[in-house]
């Protein structure tokens, strides 16, 4: 059994940018002074504290500007997960006497899903909307699920696994209409936008969102820092208590270098984003063309390769082989990607997103996600295509499975035993 010969010099081709991105050097540079030189606690009343507090507020203003929001609506947190938790628990606990119904989707990040599951244990009623086969949540489905006791709707902006971009502005508008018609300020609308910067509109007025989550680690910023945008009329019950920082909503000494870095990263993500998106779309489509031509029995998962999909996302299923085995082989050649196969999850169930889209288990187990980044080149894609087809062929040779079916359909494939 011979796998493709390894290159003399192992190259690293990182194609897991939806998991996390390297920190941009310009971001690191902006953060640098706040570790040793400008180290003071921004709550300090003395000059060096006031100086750091100034930097904190500059960052807040800069981020607010990117969202077309007011600075006092930006709350700094410890990352996307915390922001999601804060939005969901914050609204639920603050407005518990106004209603106990929450609407979300089955394809959310676990930061949202597990928070909602916890609220169910605390007596809340949660409606989980199902996407269509490409991962879209229709605004109509959202309005149909709205009730008088609905206090929160939480729907992600762009899906981290399959890259589907949800019609957040349309959903926001429908919720706005509903509120007007029923003369109520509920439900509030939250979106987890961690995957969106650079690729999507972030103007909260155009999106009609009341709460919006962002983090640093997906946008070439630092890890462990995020924001929650919170419209002025929304109140939150804090989930972290202490010294009363961040308008009493998120206690704890601010992660100043992280916050400065996040502001810089967001600013960079918005700059020249159009050119970069065009480049990524071309590169991603080139990748898919080659995959489709050179590897038999491959299918594309998620939205069509158009404007409603993140420019850098390619999620595919390769039939008859298992995703984790493939991932580990690719890793040997320096190619880094991720899979929705069960073997990488704790539950032994494959990706909840792929299953929610109605994909049969057989396909989900063989899924691979490639997410390109700003350093990804055509040479990188060619490098992957030098080795991937050979690895697939070998793994198929040792596999007893031989599925045949039009891979575009979401039904169980025909299964042939060898």
């Amino acid at each position: 059994m011979v796998f493709p010969q390894k290159p003399e010099e192992k190259k690293l081709v990182y194609l897991d940018h939806a998991a996390t991105t390297p920190t941009d050097e310009r971001v690191v540079e902006a953060m640098q002074p706040y570790f040793t030189e400008k180290f003071a606690n921004p709550s300090g009343l003395y000059a060096i504290g006031r100086d750091v507090n100034g930097a904190l507020n500059d960052a807040r203003r800069s981020i607010a500007q990117s969202l077309h929001a007011l600075p006092d609506t930006i709350i700094f947190t410890g990352g996307g997960t915390e922001s999601d938790n804060m939005a969901i628990f914050g609204v639920a606990r603050k407005y518990i006497d106004k209603g106990k119904h929450i609407i979300t989707t089955t394809i959310e990040h676990h930061a949202v899903l597990h928070s909602c599951e916890q609220l169910e244990k605390e007596g809340f009623d949660v409606t989980y909307l199902e996407p269509d086969s490409q991962g879209f949540i229709s605004p109509k489905k959202v309005t149909a699920a709205l009730r008088e006791d609905t206090i929160l709707v939480s729907i992600m902006y762009a899906n981290n696994e399959v890259g589907t971009i949800e019609p957040i502005d349309d959903i926001g508008r429908e919720i706005l209409k509903w509120r007007k018609k029923h003369a109520t300020k509920f439900p509030f609308f939250h979106t987890d936008a961690c995957q969106a910067p650079g690729a999507c509109e972030l103007d909260v007025e155009k999106l009609h969102t009341d709460l919006l989550t962002l983090n640093g680690s997906k946008i070439y910023g630092p890890k462990g820092v995020g924001i929650l945008y919170k419209r002025r009329n929304v109140q939150l019950q804090p989930i972290i208590f202490g010294g009363g920082q961040e308008m009493r909503l998120r206690s704890g000494t601010e992660n100043v270098p992280g916050i400065v870095g996040l502001a810089k990263a967001l600013q960079l993500a918005q700059e020249n984003s159009q050119d970069e998106n065009m480049r990524l779309i071309d590169l991603r489509n080139y990748f898919w063309d080659r995959l489709e031509k050179e590897i038999p029995k491959v299918r594309l998962n998620g939205a069509d390769l158009g404007l409603t999909r993140l420019p850098n996302n390619l999620n595919i299923s390769i039939l008859d082989i298992e995703g984790e085995a493939l991932l580990l082989y690719l890793d040997e050649y320096g190619i880094v990607c991720s899979t929705g196969s069960a073997c990488t999850s704790d539950s032994l169930d494959p990706s909840h997103v792929l299953l929610a889209m109605g994909m049969p288990y057989e396909y989900a187990h063989g899924s691979l996600r490639f997410t390109l980044g700003k350093t990804t080149t055509k040479e990188d894609v060619d490098y992957v295509m030098t080795y991937l087809p050979g690895i697939v062929e070998k793994l198929r040779q040792i596999s007893p499975v031989n599925l045949t079916q039009n891979p575009k359909e979401n039904t169980h494939p025909k299964y042939h035993q060898r």
Binding site: E362, I398, S399
Partner: protein
């Protein structure tokens, strides 16, 4: 809680690979494969198949058996599955055919733990991969017994219904434990077992303890 004796899936001791060197060797250089397309020409004496692509693992074992000595002279295989599944089948094929080959009686005594030990341990969540190899072997040997007309030697997995309301068997509970369930609550989360028939709870707990000991060497309840 770390219930694994082998490599841990998220090793916080600084080891960068989640599998042992032996697992890696058998994953990257699997032994005794029967390549797709060569099945018919191989003329195996017995064949066993377990799993399905839908559940994420499928294994097929082919055996050549010396009729007089009942020794396994050759063992070939194919596997659809993750790194652990491929490595487990590869190791099993080596264990069965090395040193002149095991007798069928010896082969039937191979336990999932034996495969794991030879592999230098598997991460907890991967233990079911070695169990599958064990089941494929049982199925292949049964095939041989049937062909030889020795139907009394065929071992089928007896299943016992534990929860009549939901038609849940001891086998379902075994699977739940292999998937990481440690307590009655964990198992109920997966199977809803015992919800409608509380009288079955003591037996369920006993089975959880039995399978936890069998596969992990300890119990958690």
């Amino acid at each position: 809680m770390n219930k694994s004796k082998g490599a841990s899936i998220r090793d916080n001791q600084g080891n960068s690979w989640l599998y042992s060197d032996t697992v890696k060797e058998h994953f990257f250089n699997p032994k005794n494969i029967l390549f797709a397309g060569e099945e018919e020409d191989y003329h195996a004496d017995a064949m066993g198949r377990v799993g399905s692509p839908a559940c994420g693992d499928e294994m097929v074992l082919w055996l050549k058996i010396d009729k007089d000595s009942e020794r396994i002279t050759e063992c070939k295989w194919q596997t659809f599955g993750c790194g652990s599944a491929i490595a487990s089948t590869s190791m099993l094929s080596v264990m069965l055919s090395e040193n002149g080959g095991m007798t069928l009686v010896e082969a039937l005594n191979v336990k999932p733990q034996d495969i794991m030990e030879r592999l230098g341990g598997l991460p907890n969540r991967k233990i079911h991969c070695s169990v599958l190899g064990d089941k494929a072997l049982q199925s292949a040997i049964n095939d041989w017994f049937r062909k030889m007309g020795q139907h009394d030697r065929v071992v089928t997995q007896g299943t016992k219904i534990i929860d009549e309301a939901l038609n849940i068997t001891d086998h379902d509970i075994e699977e739940a434990v292999l998937e990481g369930a440690q307590t009655l609550e964990d198992v109920q989360k997966k199977l809803k077992v015992g919800a409608a028939s509380p009288e079955s709870v003591p037996e369920i707990e006993q089975l959880i303890r039995f399978y936890s000991e069998k596969y992990y060497g300890e119990t958690f309840i």
